[in-house]
Amino acid sequence: MVSASESLPSQALPPLPTGQRLRAWFYRNEAVRGYLLLSPTLLVMIGLMIVPLVGMVGLSFFTQTYVSIDYTFTLNNYWTIFEPSDKAAHFLGIPFYLKKPIYLLLLFKSILVSLAATTAVVVLAYPMAYFLAFRVKRHKMAWLILITVPFWTSYLLRVFAWKIILGFNGVINSGLVSLGIIDKPLEFLLYNPFAVVITLAHAWAAVAILPIYVSLEKIDRSLLEAATDLGDGHLERFLRITLPLSLPGVIAASLLVFIPTVGDYITPTLVGGTDGIMIGNVVQSLFSKGNNAPLAAAVSVVSMMTITIMVCLFLWFVGRGRLSRREI
């Protein structure tokens, strides 16, 4: 087999019978083989994804009437989201000069909460993945399953469990009261963004651990030995070899956690209290309660674009760093 870098132009080949020529071309042509391999996945994704998505983007240019949808093209939904105003709504001291600030402001807030949650998830998960990859010699399978077992019980119930821990008569408050440390239950544990972050950190742990573990598992142990032979201490070895080589897993984990949590609305609803509302809640409410599917579609398109741009920037940034270091 010849890789693309050394594939020769086909004229340079000695003349062959057509059948063989075709086969040779087929074997040489990476793109064709690659796409052949990709085709099942690609077809499934196009069928299930692109068609509904095009429908949704299309929907964002229509208007909701009382019981049906008016199919004349309009940009009004986007205008609703971006219409400027001279009055500002403030969030964390940042002014939003918009007539209807709710959409962009909540999108911004959702992104912040997700970033905090993602950081918490990845920072907590990395040492555990490291432990699994380097310290566990036997029963790796059992350990992996052990990590995922808690996630086989309903998400709703796990969030509920956090309510029991952080709640008014919860584990923490009951414990502190019975120890005589406090005389009245603490109310600030639950129903705030902190509760959302901790619940998310727990809920997405398995999703973060697995990719990090897989990338750590792949590291060639001889590199680590070489580093030790060259006199690197534990920390140096970790920073120079293990961490850079496990970056693909860390990046995958971050994206896997960050992206879905931006649109999550069940967790904020359950443990976020009055300050817990996020962009997902608004989309859901526009779709079902507000009965304004086109505007919901427009808000979704804007959210999707924002997230996509953020992710692309992040990947570009990481990619550039990696290229310059010539590590992978």
Binding site: P52, L157, H202, A206, G263, A296
Partner: protein, 272 residues
């Protein structure tokens, strides 16, 4: 690598992390034996009535069966599709690779609720099929394939092509090469992917909500029960049972694995 000593801080962290993972979850069994419909301390008394209530509940058992069907089907299909895509991405230089991978990862950047409604419209109005477990499986495959592909790619990236080429040079066809070289090497990734997909599907609420017809999956059932205060404890009992069974599965799979290893004397020295 040295054998970990008993004072390894990593082991300490792992234990802490397991407490963090299991602590909240283990509260569910605790309250499932509590003789009160209100989930709050102090505990009232020991009762088994919630379990009795649960076993009596046909709808619950039925929903559980549905969830298993959906979860297993979706995780296997997604992993197969994920491997194919990841292999193509990492093994070949594809023109338009960015576009393709972007497209496959797209479901991750769409709020589930939109996906659910969009898919429902598609299923009902374009394909004219009734919502059923199959439509839920389709929806779950859609969100699991990106997960699977990412996991498989991080496993396959930096694979040594020489191995596969060596195998091909030894006259193996691509099918044999796949089974003898690629598959064993990709194994940890495959396991991770199946677990991840099953976990995702077993717990997925929103898409299932929109794509379900008359057949409810477990999260849908739980959601409907959470609105009935008197049903809450039996839902906790259910959560405890799922936990228990999951442990059993871990235990059994380990047993089976060891039976498989008995032929290798070295491995049968079991650490307990």
């Amino acid at each position: 690598m040295k054998r970990p000593s008993s004072v390894d801080p990593m082991v300490g962290y792992a234990l802490f992390y397991l407490v963090f993972l299991y602590g909240p979850v283990l509260l569910l069994p605790l309250f499932s034996f509590n003789d009160s419909i209100f989930v709050a301390f102090p505990l009232k008394g020991l009762t088994f009535q919630w379990y009795a209530q649960m076993v009596e509940n046909d709808a619950l058992i039925h929903a559980l069966g549905n969830s298993l069907k959906v979860g297993i089907s979706a995780s296997i299909i997604s992993t197969i599709l994920g491997i194919l895509a990841a292999k193509a991405m990492t093994r070949f230089r594809l023109p338009g690779r960015g576009v393709v991978s972007g497209m496959i990862l797209l479901p991750l950047v769409i709020p589930s609720i939109i996906l659910g409604i969009a898919l429902l419209v598609l299923v009902l109005n374009v394909f004219k099929i009734d919502p059923s477990l199959y439509t839920i499986i389709a929806g779950h495959v859609l969100i699991c394939v990106p997960f699977s592909m990412l996991v498989m790619m991080s496993r396959l990236e930096g694979f040594d092509k020489n191995l596969e080429e060596a195998s091909a040079d030894l006259g193996e066809n691509s099918w044999q090469t796949f089974w003898r070289i690629t598959f064993p090497l990709a194994m940890p990734g495959i396991v991770a992917s199946v677990l991840l997909c099953f976990t995702t599907s077993f717990d997925e609420f929103l898409l299932a909500f929109f794509l379900a017809g008359n057949e409810a999956t477990l999260p849908l059932f739980i959601f409907s029960q959470l609105r009935l205060p008197s049903q809450l404890p039996s839902v906790l009992a259910l959560g405890s049972c799922i936990l228990g069974v999951s442990f059993l599965v871990v235990f059994l799979s380990e047993r089976l694995r060891r039976i498989g290893l008995q032929k290798k004397p070295a491995a049968s020295a079991e650490a307990t």
